[in-house]
């Protein structure tokens, strides 16, 4: 027994060496505890991503504009703004009297330094504002942002991570965040990578928009652990897997399903038929679109959640056109006929990356649907961390994929131009190129019309075979209400409030 006693002693010693990891809160104040499925990225906004990890930033860094429920910009740190005639200069009027937690004032110079600093990075937040060509300080509370060309996505970007403001002194190498947001990071109750605790910033100008005195964000990567934590009341909010939605609802929790804009389906990379000649024919690509029973796939793979689609742009995004949704209905006979017309009566062979590890049901449905119309599928095993690189290298003519981007225009940039990252075969088509150039220069209703034209063309040419706009589910505890926001994977922090009793 003496040995085991020594063992415990050792355990006690090592355990005492750590910082505290989020105990229960003291009575009286209200605490909001949220679970995150991803770890936090560093506090340097130039290295920040847009995804769920932005929730770690929201308590400390306030944004220039605030996006409302529909994703429209409303005043926040900037109280008003206006574009010049050519739509390449955005002038912002800043709120007066706002200070960072280190005491420095949030003025035009701080905004300039922040925007230029974030833009200098390589992560997705930087990519959002890459079109900024320069920033001018007009006076202490007026700042002019210059763009290399008109961009409809600048203002929405300023309401997300790209528009977050950090104390200018802390921009280079921030060890702890310095912001002007509603909360401050409580370093004594924070363990990097595990639990982050935020307490009120007493100097915040808009306290009433944030009803909680304390915010705790815990990293819980495992969906089972998140669901258990929700069910046992340890956390107030977190994403749940679609197949757990019914269980969680049955236990009295509130579940909001929403669509962050990701479109999944069979993405056809080799549209010129360089690797698989059949794919160079429009009829073949259209045949692939007719192969999928979208409703049945949503039912089997996503417990019925999500929306069937035929286009790359999700509802609410620029370019989305509801009339296009019926373009390709499930019709395997027609698919076979189209294949025959294109000169492939016996189908063709194609090698796909096997993504069963991450998307088992989607991969199974995809493989089966292709086999049903006579396409011979060979599956390649790809290690999880090499999936992106193998797709980008042009190893596969097509594959299952899920593309998400903050706006419709970002999707165009990501996939539809000759230089796009997610266009591994560098396919381009003069007609589409021309439309994209014109959209880039256009504004207002003219831009909408051109965008829809581009979308209709891409759907007609069957560049991809999308199935559905993916739904996510976010569950909150009984005592908390929240509203998901269009285009965001998680509800923004100001959207949480105690439920009315």
């Amino acid at each position: 027994m003496r040995k085991t006693v020594a063992f415990i002693g050792a355990a006690l010693l090592t355990a005492t060496a750590t910082a505290c990891g989020g105990g229960a809160s003291a009575g009286g104040d209200t605490t909001l505890t949220l679970a995150e499925s991803v770890t936090a990225t560093p506090w340097d906004l130039a290295k920040a991503s847009l995804g769920p990890e932005s929730q770690y930033y929201q308590p400390v860094f306030d944004t220039l504009v605030r996006l409302d429920r529909n994703g429209e910009p409303t005043p926040n740190l900037a109280t008003s703004w206006s574009y010049d005639k050519p739509q390449t200069t955005l002038t912002l009027k800043l709120r007066t009297g706002v200070k960072f937690t280190d005491g420095t004032a949030l003025d035009a110079d701080a905004v300039k330094r922040n925007l230029l600093h974030t833009r200098s990075g390589a992560a997705s937040a930087a990519g959002e504002i890459r079109d900024i060509s320069g920033v001018d300080v007009i006076d202490a509370h007026t700042v002019a942002i210059h763009l290399s060309h008109p961009s409809a996505s600048l203002l929405p970007a300023l309401g997300q991570v790209s528009g977050m403001m950090a104390g200018p002194e802390s921009l280079e190498d921030p060890k702890t965040p310095v912001g002007s947001g509603p909360y401050k990071l409580d370093t004594s109750a924070t363990t990097a990578g595990q639990t982050y605790t935020y307490t009120r910033n007493p100097g915040y100008w808009n306290k009433k928009a944030y009803p909680y005195d304390k915010v705790v964000i815990k990293y819980l990567s495992d969906p089972t652990a998140r669901t258990n934590a929700l069910l046992s009341g340890q956390i107030d909010g977190g994403t749940v897997n679609l197949n757990r939605v019914k269980t969680v609802q049955a236990r009295g929790l509130k579940v909001a399903t929403y669509q962050p804009g990701d479109v999944e389906g069979l993405y056809i990379w080799d549209r010129a038929g360089k690797k698989v000649p059949a794919l160079g024919k429009r009829e073949v690509r259209q045949a692939l679109n007719y192969a999928f029973d979208k409703k049945a796939m949503l039912k089997s793979a996503k417990t019925g959640l999500g929306t069937p689609t035929a286009q790359l742009f999700a509802p609410g995004e620029d370019g989305h056109d509801a009339r296009l949704e019926d373009t390709y209905s499930y019709d395997p006979a027609k698919a076979r006929r189209l294949l025959a017309e294109a000169g492939y009566p016996k189908g063709f062979s194609v090698t796909l990356p096997d993504l069963s590890a991450a998307f088992p049901r989607e991969q199974a449905a995809l493989t089966q649907a292709l086999k049903d119309i006579g396409v011979k599928v060979k599956l390649d095993n790809v290690p999880g961390d090499q999936i992106f690189s193998s797709m980008l290298s042009g190893k596969y003519a097509m594959s299952y994929f899920k593309l998400g981007a903050p706006t419709g225009w970002d999707k165009v940039q990501l996939q539809l131009t000759g230089k796009s990252t997610w266009n591994p075969f560098k396919y381009h088509d003069p007609k589409a190129d021309h439309l994209i150039t014109r959209i880039g220069k256009a504004t207002g209703p003219r831009r909408d019309a051109l965008f829809k034209q581009l979308n209709a063309y891409v759907v007609d040419q069957a560049w991809n075979a999308p199935w559905s706009v993916v739904a996510n589910a976010y569950a909150t505890a009984k005592g908390v209400t929240t509203t998901p926001q269009a285009g965001l994977q998680y509800p923004p922090l100001h959207a949480y409030a105690p439920a009315a009793k």
């Binding site: 006690l12 495992d222 046992s232 690189s389």
Partner: protein
């Protein structure tokens, strides 16, 4: 004894070095697109190239290895490619969590297996059969299943213990115990089953030995024979099994930590492996191997303490 110890320590250090080198090579030979994974699918090609350069991935493998090894020898395991956190700090944060549940699991397994094994060996009959059956069951059921069942029933349904999370011992001893109980029990089941059978077998052998018969014939009390003599002689094989179980418990901790959402070294290694965060993964491998080596060393010392004959040889 001293030269014996020095030899063992040197061999252990060599093993750690070999494993670290092999891991480094394995992690860096696969040619993953780490920079792309870090920046996400929306990053541009030039951004990805810049990131690769920043991480030094464009340098020759040998150079990168020397750089890493030199730092590691000075006790610095580098920084995470994804979060920029020092690996040492991440290990300091996660190790106590894993050690808490593994050592608590080991303690539970040690106590239970001696009790069950002794009962089975001494009583025989139905007690023996029940223990044997439970042992087979305990070995067969994977620990994640036990963890899931415990989490759903005792934590979620009944709310007796927390379903997820870890509370550091310096924050609250009671909460620490509450947070590690279910994970430790999940881990302990398989270890108890294996070790109990070992204790039972060894004790039965010892009880049949000549010297026990001699002790009996001298009229010593049965209790004294079992606890002062037989158990002590039956301990070494049981201890070996327990030490082997320790290694198994560390690997089992990966899954159990996941189910209970514990920020332990298993979770750290797992997320590092999924993302291709080589510095973090290397750090967890080095530390885990070092712990296993240290445990084996302690085991040798324990042998010597239990059985003076070992010290001489």
């Amino acid at each position: 004894m001293l030269t014996f110890l020095i030899r063992r320590i040197a061999a252990g250090a060599a093993l750690v070095a070999v494993v670290a080198t092999a891991t480094f090579l394995l992690l860096n030979l696969t040619g993953t697109d780490v920079a792309r994974n870090i920046l996400g699918e929306t990053a541009t090609r030039s951004a990805v190239a810049a990131k690769s350069h920043e991480l030094g991935l464009d340098q020759p493998l040998v150079e990168r290895y020397w750089h890493w090894a030199e730092q590691a020898l000075r006790g610095d395991l580098g920084t995470s490619w994804f979060t920029g956190d020092p690996v040492n700090q991440s290990l300091m944060d996660t190790l106590p969590v894993t050690l808490s549940i593994v050592l608590a699991g080991l303690l539970i397994a040690a106590v239970l297996s001696v009790a069950l094994g002794t009962a089975a060996a001494l009583r025989g009959g139905w007690v023996d059969r029940v223990v044997q059956f439970a042992a087979v069951l305990g070995t067969a059921v994977p620990s994640f299943l036990i963890a899931l069942v415990l989490a759903v029933t005792l934590a979620v349904r009944l709310g007796w213990l927390p379903a997820t999370g870890y509370v550091a011992i310096d924050a609250s001893v009671v909460d620490w115990l509450r947070s590690i109980t279910l994970p430790a029990v999940s881990l302990a089941v398989a270890a108890t089953a294996a070790t109990a059978m070992q204790v039972r077998g060894a004790l039965m052998d010892v009880l049949r030995a000549d010297y026990v018969r001699t002790l009996r014939s001298r009229g010593l009390k049965p209790r004294s024979i079992v606890f002062r003599h037989a158990l002590r002689n039956a301990a070494p094989p049981a201890l070996t099994v327990l030490a082997l179980q320790f290694i198994g418990l560390i690997s089992g901790a990966v899954v159990v930590e996941k189910v209970f959402g514990l920020p332990g070294i298993g979770t750290l290694a797992n997320s590092a492996a999924v993302r291709g965060d080589a510095p973090v993964l290397l750090g967890t491998v080095v530390v885990t191997v070092a712990i296993v080596v240290a445990v084996n060393l302690l085991l040798d010392i324990a042998y010597g303490w239990l059985n003076p004959k070992v010290r001489v040889s």
